[in-house]
């Protein structure tokens, strides 16, 4: 388990991992090496100096590992004993197993990689000693990822079909992607939207289609020109407290209290109240409250008519 080991042991593990890594990547720069192991360059220099003193009993030039790193590029010789990477530990195997499952879920059904993933999964499962399946799913297809990846790498633009949940409509947009970002468990594409003339974020799982296009010019502009003023609203929660707490992001909640919150969309407020099936009541603003009552009556009339 990686429950924060004592420093000397972390250090030992790093030293043992360094030898095979340098052996397989001779001539790597000190900077890249430090980045790979997540330590500062001076710590990495200290590590290499320590390793330089290590070797087979005897500890003469014949037995010591032969490290060179003064030029800023690192290579190693005479390190046969340690040059194989160490076997995977439990946490590493679990991380790989779940990562593979996530990868599998995101691949297209006809991909020829499924079989390879199965083989790797069963080999690793045997090593882990966990007999249940560790699952991870993704609702973003790999072909979509491949398109986004390709656009990010070549700095091209993308034609996307995007489903907006608040308006419940699909729009076609030309965007120039900047990055893929994760927030609260959801993946987003941050991009300049040429239709809106501003930077926007798009949930990956709501991008229905995308096609790589030639690079489109992003106009210079003042940022924060967005017109999304937020709207204050007040609700009262009647039931299903846990769900409502999560949906409306209320930190401390109890029944019959009133809660204030902000939203950038009237549509979102109205739909969220409907979509809570009576578990919340909108107190303010009064005009939205009236719209809800009116809309509910309209839908009700339709049900009662047939």
């Amino acid at each position: 388990m990686v429950k924060a080991r004592p420093a000397p042991l972390q250090h030992t593990e790093r030293l043992l991992s360094l030898v095979p890594f340098i052996s397989a990547n001779q001539g790597i720069s000190l900077k890249d090496l430090a980045a790979t192991f997540n330590v500062s360059e001076s710590q990495m220099s200290a590590d290499l100096t320590t390793l330089w003193m290590c070797g087979l009993p005897g500890y003469t030039a014949l037995e010591l590992m032969d490290l060179s790193f003064e030029s800023g590029f690192v290579s190693i010789r005479n390190a046969q004993t340690l040059e194989n990477p160490r076997t995977l530990n439990f946490d590493e195997i679990v991380a790989l197993l779940m990562g593979l499952d996530l990868l599998k879920e995101s691949l297209d059904a006809d991909s020829n990689l499924h079989e390879k993933i199965e083989v790797l999964t069963s080999r690793l499962s045997q090593k882990s000693g966990i007999v249940s399946r560790l699952r991870a799913t993704s609702d973003v297809s790999s072909s979509l990822r491949a398109q986004i990846e390709s656009a990010l790498r070549s700095q091209s633009s993308l034609d996307i079909s995007y489903h907006s949940l608040y308006n419940d409509s699909v729009s076609e947009r030309l965007v120039s992607p900047l990055e893929v970002r994760i927030e609260n468990g959801t993946e987003y594409l941050v991009a300049f939207c040429h239709n809106a003339g501003a930077f926007r974020i798009f949930r990956l799982d709501r991008i229905l289609k995308c096609v790589v296009k030639e690079k489109a010019h992003i106009p210079k502009q003042e940022s924060n020109s967005n017109n999304g003023q937020s709207l204050e609203f007040t609700i009262r929660v009647n039931s299903r407290l846990r769900l409502m707490k999560e949906r409306f992001a209320i930190p401390h909640i109890s029944t019959s209290d009133e809660y204030q919150s902000l939203s950038f969309s009237q549509q979102w407020i109205i739909r969220s109240v409907f979509g809570s099936s009576g578990s919340v009541q909108l107190i303010e603003p009064a005009n939205l409250r009236a719209q809800i009552a009116q809309k509910a009556q309209l839908i009700l009339d339709r049900y009662l008519a047939n």
Binding site: M1, V2, R5, L9, H11, T12, E13, S17, A24, N25, A46, T50, M53, C54, L56, P57, G58, N84, P85, R86, T87, N89, D91, E92, V94, A95, L96, L97, M98, G99, L113, K116, I130, V131, S132, R133, L134, A136, T137, D139, R145, H163, L165, D168, S169, G185, S239, L241, R242, I270, F274, G275, G278, Q281, A293, K295, A296, Q297, I299, Y303
Partner: protein, 313 residues
């Protein structure tokens, strides 16, 4: 600190390189760093053995020759030390590397990164052709995941406070079977000891820490147990008939099959699992969706709409 790690590295090298078992005496004489009285050397060596074991390096004891009444010797078998994934191709390395990258910053990020370093140390070039190189990503980080995984691996019971659907704190004792993630949420399931039933829990609904309790190997995980499959088969199932306005309610259409085209509207059949959340998503779509069947679903929606009219009037 570097003296200690230096000694541990030297001990590892010596015990790996030797073809026969080394006695303590040989170890103390030949490996740098063992100093002081024989007792303090002994203590040092015992601690070093435990330390190496704690980072996953097993030292074998052996070489006791009954004829000579030898003392015990020590070595590390290369086949236990070395990473061995069987016959492995560049494509396999690429897949495993992507799998590790999925954890970037998430719960098992540190373990995933060290796995990645090991993969890159194998001297096999990663073959990225035909593989999408933007890895899907895990999006969560928590110590609790590691605790639950440890409990599964060691067969130990866990105790935690769980937030019920009405926000009450309930203490649960569970023999955990598996973990999974779906649509951004992380779950674990196992045998709930007081209910004697398999239950599934969401990590973010655990209040405070998950703690390990009881002895190791106190239960057995059912072979092949799949949390996501259980989630799906456990849920209630119903079949509904809905009218959806054209080009609307895409979220509902995803799992629906078209029955008839009615001009402005289309009729769909749709399977649902949890009726409460199904009603939530129907009402979210306001006047773009009308439920025709089943009757109890229709009645529940009519009642909810009446309540909404009254409470917002």
């Amino acid at each position: 600190m570097s003296r200690k790690s230096e000694r541990l590295v030297n001990l590892t090298i010596a015990l790996l390189a030797t073809k026969r078992y080394l006695t303590k005496d040989e170890i103390f004489r030949s490996i740098e760093g063992y100093e002081g009285s024989i007792e303090s050397k002994e203590r040092m060596f015992e601690r070093d053995k435990d330390d190496l074991r704690s980072i996953g390096i097993e030292i074998e004891v052996g070489g006791l020759d009954p004829l000579f009444n030898d003392e015990a010797g020590y070595r590390i078998k290369p086949e236990n030390y070395k990473l061995d994934l069987g016959v492995i191709s560049g494509t396999d390395i690429a897949l495993l590397s992507l799998a590790a990258q999925a954890w970037n910053g998430a719960a098992l990020g540190t373990a995933a990164n060290s796995a990645l370093v090991k993969l890159k140390s194998m001297g096999i070039d990663s073959d990225l052709d035909s593989i999408p190189t933007l890895a899907p990503r895990m999006a969560w980080s928590s110590q609790e995941l590691e605790t639950v995984l440890e409990a599964i691996a060691k067969g130990r019971k866990i105790v935690f406070v769980y937030i019920s659907s009405e926000l009450n704190n309930e203490t649960r004792e569970v023999f955990p079977y598996a973990v999974a993630t779906r649509e951004g949420h992380w779950y674990f399931s196992g045998l709930d000891c007081s209910k004697n039933e398999v239950r599934t829990f969401r990590f973010d609904r655990v209040n405070g820490e998950v703690s390990l309790t009881g002895k190791e190997n106190s239960f057995q995980v059912p072979h092949g147990f799949d949390l996501l499959e259980v989630l799906e088969t456990d849920a209630e199932h119903g079949l509904a008939v809905l009218d959806i306005r054209k080009n609307k309610a895409l979220m509902l259409r995803k799992n629906a099959s078209l029955v008839a085209d009615l001009g402005e509207w289309e009729r769909f059949k749709i399977e649902y699992t949890d009726s409460n959340s199904f009603i939530d998503s129907i009402l979210w779509h306001l006047d773009d969706v009308v439920v025709l069947e089943p009757t109890e679903l229709r009645l529940a929606i009519i009642q909810t709409l009446r309540d909404l009219v009254v409470s917002h009037g």
